[in-house]
Amino acid sequence: MISDLLSMTVLVGILASGIRLATPYLYAAIGETFGQRSGVLNLGVDGQMLMGAFTAFYVAIKTGNLWLGILSAMVAGALMGLAMAFVTVNLHAEQGISGIGFYLFGLGLSDLLFQKLLGTVETVKGFPKIQIPFLSDIPVVGEIFFRQNVLVYIAFALVPVAWFILNKTTLGLKIRAVGENPEAADSLGVSVARIRYFTIILGGTLSGVAGASMSIALVNVFQQNMTSGLGFIAVALVYFGAWRPWGVLAGALLFSLVNSLQLWIQVLGIPIPSDIAVMMPYILTILVLVATVSRVRAPSALTKPFERGD
């Protein structure tokens, strides 16, 4: 049975769905990267994703317009981010605890809204696969990379964009400075609060899209806690990727491929207990974090509220 995994069709299948499954990780983890580079650890990603997933699903079902769904998911995520920014930047709340609060809030509210507004499990016709002309015809490669839905392409395009913003723009310079030494940035007239508001809201927006990418592109349903902790893995991926977009991409691919592998193991009926298979990505998270965390240095001001000295 194990040999089934080695057939060409299955390998291509594993890789193709691995690429697809990386989508929510990428949106969420790239968003989280911006937050953490500016010194804010947002543990509420999963809650923001659930809100995004529900909002996109609901709007898409009611209007039949998937892009409107994406847009509303972005707004929902941004609003969650705004609240997080207020609590952590203005009220100087402990970031870890308030993030968990926002996670639970998003988890509860998305389910409540689902029960009140929809009640039954429905499916939506999600984003279709787009075959990129010519590229999708390349054997193997085309099937793996170029027959995906639009959100997958955008997610991968986000990686170089994020890298460019962080490293080549004045905004990125400010974000990095605020995350390393907010006092220094402040003394040069950079508004620490404004930068952190921006990154947290951006993170929320992208988390919203991450959720939407699940509910209206990947699985095309909404159900309670459908992310099942994926947002937390996204946070871990930021550490794994050493706060760099390309590192985050590598991490996202690693996890989604393992995830895809375990799905195929179940599909093919390979006799590994499904519980063990499902655990694989999570165990991998822990192992990888243990192996990498001591190797890299986090932004110095990560999790530290900023207040002008007195």
């Binding site: 990125g172 310079l173 400075a177 030494n181 940035a185 040069l188 007239g189 002008r308």
Partner: protein, 516 residues
């Protein structure tokens, strides 16, 4: 250059800056009370005062970090509002903070560019910035590599980056907040010559300090602050060190206390052939031999990082010894853990008082019993005796003149001098037989420094053996009976107080043995 009002950096000179009747109140503290202060192009104006006298507050108001409750600021006789550092910068005022405001993980050019409009927004223009940095560096004689990361630079180089950062932003007037605190003596000399050149070129410079000899060295004028009020402004050339100290502290200060002759007693502490490793794994100490007698202060002089820390830690048991022995009152304590050494009346005033000398979130009372907490009367069978602790700390607060709102105040909220008094009170009140005092007065203001030195001399008189580790030669000369010079983990020589001259010690500190 004198007749033009353009600085070499291309920016306009600030001929006069005046702060009038500045008052600033923090909850419960009057930080500045109706202070007048002014500075003119081409002069170095020192702002002198003890810690907490209100120097930094006044300058943070000028730089827009704080807002004055009353008073006004005039620039070339015109009133200006400075509400933020951005306002200050746009008026040509730059500030170099005591703790550098640099982002270590960024390059020099990135640190300079931070917060400025780029010529190709939204992209950075680091090449252009680097060019301009090199240009400024050339004009002002500040050698720096724009592409170096801050963490790669020495403290002196980092300070140059700070100066360039200010010049780049068009600073005509520079506020220097205790700029020498972190520099080595050689770096101080270089820094002073940069300051002099900048003044000559028409910059105005404000030099905040509590170090009298530096103020005398570098400034043209000096304003003295005490308890938030200005004592006066004087021409530096007319003032002596004793004058400045009196204005600053409000009474006469004794810099070289009389040292009474004390009969040398038995050897209390003996370090025999001690070796250990440094934190980096390199040799920290190599075959060090020392003995300290009852009633004696043995000074350890040397440039920072030559094994002083290792020596203190090997004696107190905080660092593993790799060879040799330590004897206390003739008993071998080499293998004893720190607490057993403590219990044999070994006291330790560590170099990093906030980190190693106390627990900053603990109250003053708790910090005062840290070393004795496991003993009666402070605890019995593991239960703390709060009454005994309270009365003990009340005694020490009075006896050691610790200024604290209450004994329940967290130690971290005291001033630097009072924090050190807490450590000194704890270590001296337990009738020590041997004291290891590492940099006991570093960073303290004159009053606290004088106090700590007097207490150490009292201990000496009562027969305690004291090992005084200090990078401040003045302090070694003021207190030590004998002086051992440490260099790269080895004792280069031990000289008596009478034969010791700065030249002789300087050579040893540089690793040159006598007769070579």
């Amino acid at each position: 250059m004198a007749d033009s009002n353009i600085l070499p950096s291309g920016h306009t000179r600030i001929d006069d800056l005046e702060m009038r009747e500045i008052t600033k109140i923090f909850p419960g503290v009057l930080a500045n009370e109706s202070v007048d202060f002014s500075v003119h192009a081409g002069e170095v104006h020192a702002l002198l005062g003890e810690n907490g006298a209100g120097k930094t507050t006044l300058m943070k108001i000028l730089y827009g970090l704080y807002h004055a409750d009353e008073g006004q600021i005039l620039l070339n006789d015109k009133p200006v509002e400075i509400l933020s550092p951005t306002d200050a910068i746009s008026q040509g005022i730059g500030m170099i903070h005591q703790h550098f405001m640099l982002v270590e993980s960024l390059t020099v050019a990135e640190n300079v560019a931070l917060g400025l409009r780029s010529s190709r927004e939204p992209l950075t223009d680091l090449d252009k910035v680097s060019e301009r940095i090199l240009e400024l560096a050339k004009i002002y004689g500040l050698i720096i590599d724009p592409s170096a990361y801050i963490w790669q630079l020495s403290v002196g180089q980092q300070q140059r980056v700070e100066i360039i950062k200010a010049l780049y932003r068009g600073a005509a007037l520079l506020i220097l907040d205790e700029p020498t605190a972190v520099l080595t003596p050689l770096e101080v000399d270089e820094f002073f010559s940069i300051i002099r050149d900048m003044a000559k070129d028409g910059h105005g410079l404000i030099f905040i300090s509590h170090k009298l000899h530096e103020v005398i060295d570098i400034s043209d004028k000096v304003s003295v602050l005490r308890d938030g009020r200005k004592v006066g402004t004087y021409q530096t050339k007319d003032a002596t060190k004793a004058d400045l100290a009196r204005w600053m502290v409000g009474r006469d200060v004794d810099f070289r206390p009389e040292i009474e002759k004390v009969e040398l007693g038995e050897v209390r502490l003996e370090v025999i052939d001690a070796s250990c490793r440094s934190n980096r794994g390199t040799p920290g100490l190599e075959n060090v031999n020392l003995e300290v007698h009852s009633g004696e202060i043995l000074g350890i002089a040397g440039v920072s990082g030559n094994g002083q820390r290792e020596l203190a830690e090997v004696i107190t048991g905080l660092r593993d010894i790799t060879g040799g022995r330590i004897e206390l009152d003739g008993a071998d304590i080499t293998k004893l853990p720190p607490i057993d050494r403590t219990d044999r009346a070994l006291s330790y005033i560590p170099e990093e008082r906030m980190k190693d000398g106390m627990i900053k979130n603990f109250t003053v009372a708790e910090n005062l019993i840290l070393r004795e907490h496991h003993k009666k009367p402070f605890s019995n069978g593991g239960i703390l005796n709060l009454k005994a602790i309270a009365s003990h700390s009340a005694d020490l607060i009075t006896n050691f003149q610790i200024k604290t709102p209450s004994q329940e105040t967290p130690a971290k909220s005291l001033s630097g001098g009072n924090i050190q008094k807490v450590v000194v009170a704890r270590e001296l009140s337990r009738e020590p037989r041997v004291i290891i005092a590492a940099q006991p007065t570093r960073g303290l203001d004159v009053g606290a420094m004088e106090y700590v030195r007097e207490r150490l001399l009292e201990e000496r008189k009562s027969g305690t053996a004291i090992l005084l580790i200090s990078e401040d030669l003045d302090e070694i000369f003021a207190l030590a009976d004998r002086i051992a010079v440490i260099f790269e983990g080895q004792i280069m020589g031990i000289v008596g107080r009478e034969e010791a001259t700065p030249e002789k010690l300087g050579l040893l500190m540089a690793g040159v043995k006598e007769g070579v």
